[in-house]
């Protein structure tokens, strides 16, 4: 197995108009690692995730995901290949309301990856079972609870057979009771060896599941480290201040 990190972000910068959101962020993620990014709102966490899978083009720096140089991709074929490697799950689930849960999961493999519809359906059924929603295959998103919708969204992301999954504050919009069921699902994925990059506020979960923690503030990474050290002995003043507010 190669020692090269599967995601390598070097000194990325991004401005939206006059506002500079990312001011030089660098980090590496090894294959199979689970990484949590925390920080105050507006610190650029969600932007980092979206830059990694190419949804937001960067103004400077470089991003390498597996064998792709993300900022240099132009051809459709390459973008499709990248999006096959990296899937993202959103805070607002963004399921397609006019399709059933099963159809939501099958759509991208059939239309983007051009897989055989029967195979795609079989896989979709298996994925729904994996997130423990096998009896909701024919339900529409509007009929599902927030936690169920988020699990369908995770299954949808898994349908692309990614190496890396990005989670953008996926439990922030959920009731506390349903947060648990989603975290359990994410934990299982992490245990299976999927590379996960999470942006989250769930400190308890992060402490359990993460291999490495990053704290961003003002568009830069202020501190990072393994969770035990990170939570027990934060080195920087800002990290301490932020953690004392949350914990």
């Amino acid at each position: 197995m190669s020692d090269r990190p599967i995601v390598s972000v070097k000194d990325i910068r991004k401005s939206f108009g006059a506002v500079e959101v990312l001011k030089g962020v660098s980090f590496d993620v090894a294959k199979g690692e689970v990484v949590c990014i925390i920080g105050p709102s507006g610190s650029g966490k969600s932007t980092i995730l979206r830059c990694i899978n190419g949804l937001i083009p960067i103004d400077g720096g470089s991003i390498r995901v597996a064998d792709f140089q993300v900022e240099k991709l132009t051809a459709d074929r390459d973008v499709i290949a990248l999006r096959k490697e990296v899937s993202i799950v959103f805070q607002q689930y963004n399921l397609y309301p006019h399709k059933t849960a099963l159809a939501n999961i099958m759509m991208a493999p059939i239309h983007v990856l051009k897989e055989d519809p029967k195979e795609a359906e079989a896989r979709a059924v298996a994925l729904l079972a994996k997130v423990r929603l096998q009896d909701k295959a024919g339900s529409y998103p509007g009929e599902l609870s927030g936690g169920q919708q988020q699990r369908v969204a995770i299954a949808r992301a898994l349908a692309m057979r990614p190496e890396i999954i990005l989670f953008d504050e996926v439990t922030a919009a959920l009731d506390p009771e349903t947060v648990k069921e989603v975290l359990v699902t994410i934990r299982e994925l992490a245990d299976e060896g999927l590379t996960c990059i999470l942006v989250t506020h769930e400190m308890g979960f992060a402490r359990e599941v993460a291999d490495h923690m990053y704290f961003t503030d003002g568009g830069v990474i202020v501190e990072h480290g393994p969770p035990a050290e990170f939570f027990a002995r934060p080195k920087h003043e800002r990290t301490r201040a932020f953690l004392s507010q949350i914990l």
Partner: protein, 305 residues
């Protein structure tokens, strides 16, 4: 129960939705909110919405009977009764009314089809296409319907030769085409409004799954738009149906001109009121079910436009 995404518990009362682009704060009373929502809808259709009640029909009938009764009393016994006269002319008026409906259906079909493409063109990422579509939409929205009718009546050729076949274009076809132009422009606005009201998260998640823009538009966005577009589309149709009486001004024979002809041949100008109210009652009978169905659909789909 599904909790609305992004809204923490306890901040908004049950069933309350914020205005498009607005705040959560109840700064102004519901009357203002209703007005703002109505404005958004009217702006899409380009005309005020018809709001018909059942008693409108009853009232029309009542006035018709009163007017008829008055004329009857004035006329005296030697003339045929009003009811006889109107009944005698009803088959002809019915044919005229059916013609109005046919014109409205055809103009709606043409206008809707072109309008969808014009609306999608307004959202194109190619700047020249989007600008041209925007200009065409607002050009035909700003032109009065009557002027467009005149334009088509006079400037469309009276026959067209395609592949060696000569197709005559009678007046009513030209008038129908003239009516389809404002329908197309308003449909374009309806489509644009519907597509822009789909949350951007849908576009974002489709992109993150590497769907092409065309796949996203046709497979994900437009199917969600159909429900939202239905109420304003039906309102547009009601307005168009009532607007078909305009073709009488450009010389196409429809129910109003036929009523005028009937009055002239009866040589009784005092029959004008009963006749017109009779025809208005027909328009009401046609438009009212559409209006009720529209209200039902609006409530059922209850979407913020």
């Amino acid at each position: 129960m599904n909790s609305a995404p992004g809204r923490p518990h306890g901040t908004a009362p049950q069933g309350w939705r914020p205005l498009p682009g607005g705040t959560d704060l109840p700064v102004l009373m519901p009357a203002a909110e209703r007005l703002v929502r109505r404005v958004e809808r009217e702006r899409l259709i380009g005309n005020p919405v018809l709001r018909l009640e059942p008693w409108h029909g009853g009232l029309l009938l009542l006035v018709f009977l009163c007017a008829a009764g008055y004329v009857q009393a004035q006329a005296g016994a030697d003339r045929p009764s009003i009811v006889d006269v109107i009944w005698r002319w009803t088959p002809l008026l019915a044919k005229g009314f059916a013609f109005n409906i046919a014109i409205s259906a055809l103009a709606m079909a043409i206008g809707t089809t072109f309008g969808i493409f014009l609306g999608l063109a307004q959202l194109s990422r190619a700047k020249p296409v989007a600008s041209t579509a925007w200009f065409a939409t607002h050009f035909f929205r700003n032109a009065p319907w009557l002027v467009l009718l005149f334009y088509c009546m006079f400037l469309l050729p009276f026959k067209v030769t395609l592949f060696g076949v000569t197709i005559p274009l009678p007046d009513w076809v030209k008038a129908t085409f003239g009516l389809s132009l404002p329908v197309m422009a308003n449909m374009s606005e309806i489509v644009r409004g519907a597509v822009q009201s789909i949350p951007s998260g849908q576009w974002e998640s489709a992109r993150s799954f590497a769907f092409t823009r065309r796949q996203t538009t046709w497979m994900i966005i437009l199917p969600q738009c159909t429900k939202r577009m239905l109420p304003p589309w039906m309102n547009l149709y009601s307005i168009l149906t009532v607007g078909t009486v305009l073709v009488s001004v450009v010389g196409v024979s429809e129910v109003m001109t036929l009523a005028g002809d009937a009055l002239a041949s009866e040589n009784r100008a005092d029959l004008l009121m009963p006749f017109y109210f009779y025809i208005l009652a027909w328009f009401f009978l046609y438009c009212y079910p559409i209006a009720r169905w529209t209200v039902y659909l609006e409530r059922k789909y209850a979407v913020d436009f």
